[in-house]
Amino acid sequence: MILYSLKNLKKQYNRRTVLDISKLDIQSGNIYTLSGPNGAGKTTFLNILSFLLIPSSGRLAYLNIPVKYNEKYLQQLRKSVILVDQHPILFSTSVYKNIEFGLKVRKISRKKRKTIIESALDLVDMKMFINADARHLSGGETRRIAIARAIACSPDVLLLDEPTADLDLESRLTIENIIREIHARKDITIIFCTHDLSQASRLTSKNIYFLNGQIHDIYHENIFKGELVTSNQKEYYCKINEKILIPVQSTDKDKIKISIHPGMINIIDHKKSDSDVSLSYTGRVTHLGMEKEKIRAVIDIGISVSVLMEKAEYDLHMLRLNDSVKINFDVDGITII
């Protein structure tokens, strides 16, 4: 069943278009991830899906009924779609009363409210905090309570804006498990923003990629802004951070934005001398993770570059966290966007 249907939907602020979607259908019962660089329009998109923000133009239909932008109608729609902010805020009262608020709004009896609150807290493994003062919780705990507050209302759609941003690994994995659990137990459609691609691939195969307010089929990673430089008018480079040169095709722009395909970054054997490889950079491995059948490594060469490699290649280089590693860039893997 089509949950959301968007057509020629635009959102503008002071004549600047921050969201421009020509066509998109979102099916119910799935988990979707929204990815893309900062400022790509993901949060604006979530705010529109949660009926908290009115689009400047275009059509948005929810369950095949066009959305009417009057407050009473929107309030009814909001009862079935809940957004949990990137930095959720809890009301200055107890955890119990925080979760109770949405249930009171839905006129659920006091007796039922207690059972629902306990069950929601149980789902996020925070039952022991039921009477705690919500102001004294940590960032990770606050997010879990905010998720419990949302699922207690039994929404059809749960929207999460970067639910694991700024959290430590343990808290990230806890939130991931909660998302899986909610989806499995409650059959709620979950749409969430993330910058963590391995997290996205762990939770779903349905990814919507945003760039400059638009949805793109091709996923751009390793996006950097830089300056176009050339020494001989034949070879062109994108100069990033005044020290890193990435080979690019020629273009007439001075300031460019590039994306580097993570599968087309070469890890160079340490035994090779510098003369054998042009423009290589040495950095440290800061992150390693499995992504489907491949290995993703993040290498800090002054900028953090994400590299995706086959397992065989990973075994060949025997990469470990904090290892020093040398990489270079294949010009065919670089796109000016």
């Binding site: 309030q75 909001r78 779609v81 902010d85 009301f91």
Partner: protein, 231 residues
């Protein structure tokens, strides 16, 4: 020095004996001050909320005018209200001049800007995410407004306490619109002025002690709520 100590001791005796005239004056003072604070709160709190949370026309100009009204002298309000309630004026038929109601009207005008501006500022300090959270959880406009008001409760209470502190100690309005009629419109401040004019300091000192005690209590309350706001 001995005159001051003698006056102080006599004043304390007067207070201990629960002097009828003293009780009368304090009661009138509290009655008009509490009434005007209540009226100002009923108008100022919603006004502050509406100005803070809505994009109303001329918002900046309204805030500037309200800020200017914070410095409004009591005698100007006294004159202004007098012009409307004196015998031959628009509301002359209501016979309000030299009544407690007249003092309440004047004092309310004095503190409505105080409650409005402080409420507005208390709500402006409240994180916008509270409103967004209430809305996404399915709340209607009234329920959302209540959430914001509850979050701003300490700031709003501080504004009401400050307003009460302002009216309990004012003299211009009480004198001009109340007329300092014994047992009817005589407040602590007007009684103190009268006693001073008569050269009788015992009642004046006793009233001064009570007024200072009320001020101290109000300031303790204000401090408490301001402390809660910044928590």
């Amino acid at each position: 020095m001995s005159f001051l100590i003698d006056s102080l001791l006599s004043a304390l005796k007067l207070m201990a004996a629960l002097d009828a005239a003293l009780i009368d004056i304090v009661t009138v003072s509290l009655k008009v001050s509490v009434s005007s604070t209540l009226i100002a709160s009923l108008i100022g709190v919603p006004a502050g909320f509406i100005i803070s949370t809505n994009e109303i026309p001329f918002k900046r100009s309204i805030i500037t005018i309200l800020n200017t009204l914070l410095a409004l002298p009591t005698v100007v309000i006294g004159l202004f209200v007098y012009a409307f309630i004196s015998r031959n004026s628009v509301f002359g038929t209501y016979d309000l001049l030299y009544t407690q109601q007249a003092i309440i009207i004047g004092q309310s005008i004095l503190i409505i800007p105080i409650v409005t501006v402080f409420t507005l500022s208390a709500i402006n300090r409240i994180d916008r995410r509270y409103r967004k959270t209430a809305l996404t959880l399915g709340a209607n406009q009234v329920q959302t407004a209540l959430i914001v008001l509850v979050e701003a409760r300490f700031g709003i209470t501080a504004s009401i306490v400050a307003a009460f502190g302002r009216v309990i100690s004012e003299i211009g309005i009480s004198m001009m619109l109340g007329g300092n009629i014994r047992g009817f419109t005589r407040t602590m401040t007007t009684a103190m002025a009268l006693q001073y004019d008569k050269g009788e300091f015992i009642l004046a000192v006793a009233l001064g002690i009570i007024l200072l005690s009320i001020s101290l209590f109000v300031n303790i309350l204000l401090n408490y709520f301001q402390g809660k706001t910044s928590e």
